[in-house]
């Protein structure tokens, strides 16, 4: 069975690779390459998979999940400049894809012991664009 919890955070970012020229950055990242940055209201949906515990009837304690998401994602990223304040985005371009991988890295250790597993991390950059990640790069 799956359970999904949604949290939101608002942050600024700039998709700019300092190893590339200005023109190359604009060609790759378009308006998002503006070095001064811009912002989004990110929506994060974290899905856990596992059996409901026979005694509690729950897959995972939602209070604890909320605390983990706040500690690992919302507190460090909400109302921050990702490039300036949230490592590794001082050296990794904070595309939605790279942010989702970083969120997976931060969350996965909390669920590595089982029986509950981190199943999917979905991050909406806007209501019209989201990325799903199931940990395939971190295996």
């Amino acid at each position: 069975m799956w359970i999904t919890r949604r949290v939101t955070f608002s942050a600024s970012h700039a998709c700019y690779n300092p190893a590339l020229s200005d023109n190359e950055n604009v060609r790759l990242y378009g308006l998002a390459a503006n070095r001064n940055g811009h912002g989004h209201n990110y929506v994060l949906e974290v899905t856990l998979a596992g059996p409901p515990d026979p005694q509690t009837g729950m897959i995972f304690d939602l209070k604890e999940l909320k605390e983990i998401l706040n500690r690992e994602v919302v507190e460090p990223m909400d109302h921050r400049s990702l490039n300036h304040e949230v490592p590794p985005f001082d050296r990794v371009v904070p595309t939605t894809e790279n942010i989702v991988v970083e969120i997976w890295r931060r969350l996965e250790p909390h669920f590595s012991a089982g029986p509950v597993r981190l199943h999917n991390v979905r991050l909406y950059e806007t209501p019209d664009l989201y990325v799903d990640y199931g940990g395939e790069l971190c295996a």
Partner: protein
């Protein structure tokens, strides 16, 4: 990793099959058989599957937008699907058939824009109204 991008188009259609009598069409399609047609604000979600590339992205979203606009939206948006699209002259423009048509349009243009063999259309999802949606997964 999967990236989903949302697009919108508005179109008119009428559900009326040449395989059935007027009475049968009315019974089968109900209000959607209204002889003068009707319309919807369709929502199209295109999901792309692939590995993370050197720029920290699954797909160039600007290139994806251009492909979808040119190959799909310009053909369908603000059109009468039955009257304006030869594909639906003899095929009933149910959302199922629209989804299949869009999948063909996207796949026909795909190789002209994206050359990586690892990058593929994963899913076409259409909402006809907020109450119903249809998903077509690629193999």
């Amino acid at each position: 990793m999967r990236l989903t991008r949302r697009y919108r188009f508005s179109a008119a259609h009428r559900l009326d099959s040449p395989h059935f009598s007027p009475q049968e069409n009315r019974a089968l399609y109900g209000k959607c058989n209204n002889p003068y047609g009707h319309g919807h604000n369709y929502i199209l979600d295109v999901t792309v599957r692939g590995p993370l590339d050197a720029t920290g992205r699954v797909v160039d979203v600007q290139a994806l937008d251009k492909l979808i606009h040119e190959s799909v939206l310009t053909r369908l948006d603000q059109k009468n699907l039955n009257a304006d699209l030869p594909e639906f002259a003899s095929v009933v423009p149910t959302t199922e058939n629209i989804a299949s048509h869009i999948q063909r349009l996207v796949e026909r243009s795909w190789k002209n824009v994206f050359t990586s063999p690892e990058l593929a259309v994963d899913r076409i999802r259409i909402e006809e109204t907020e109450h119903n949606f249809f998903e077509l997964h690629s193999l």
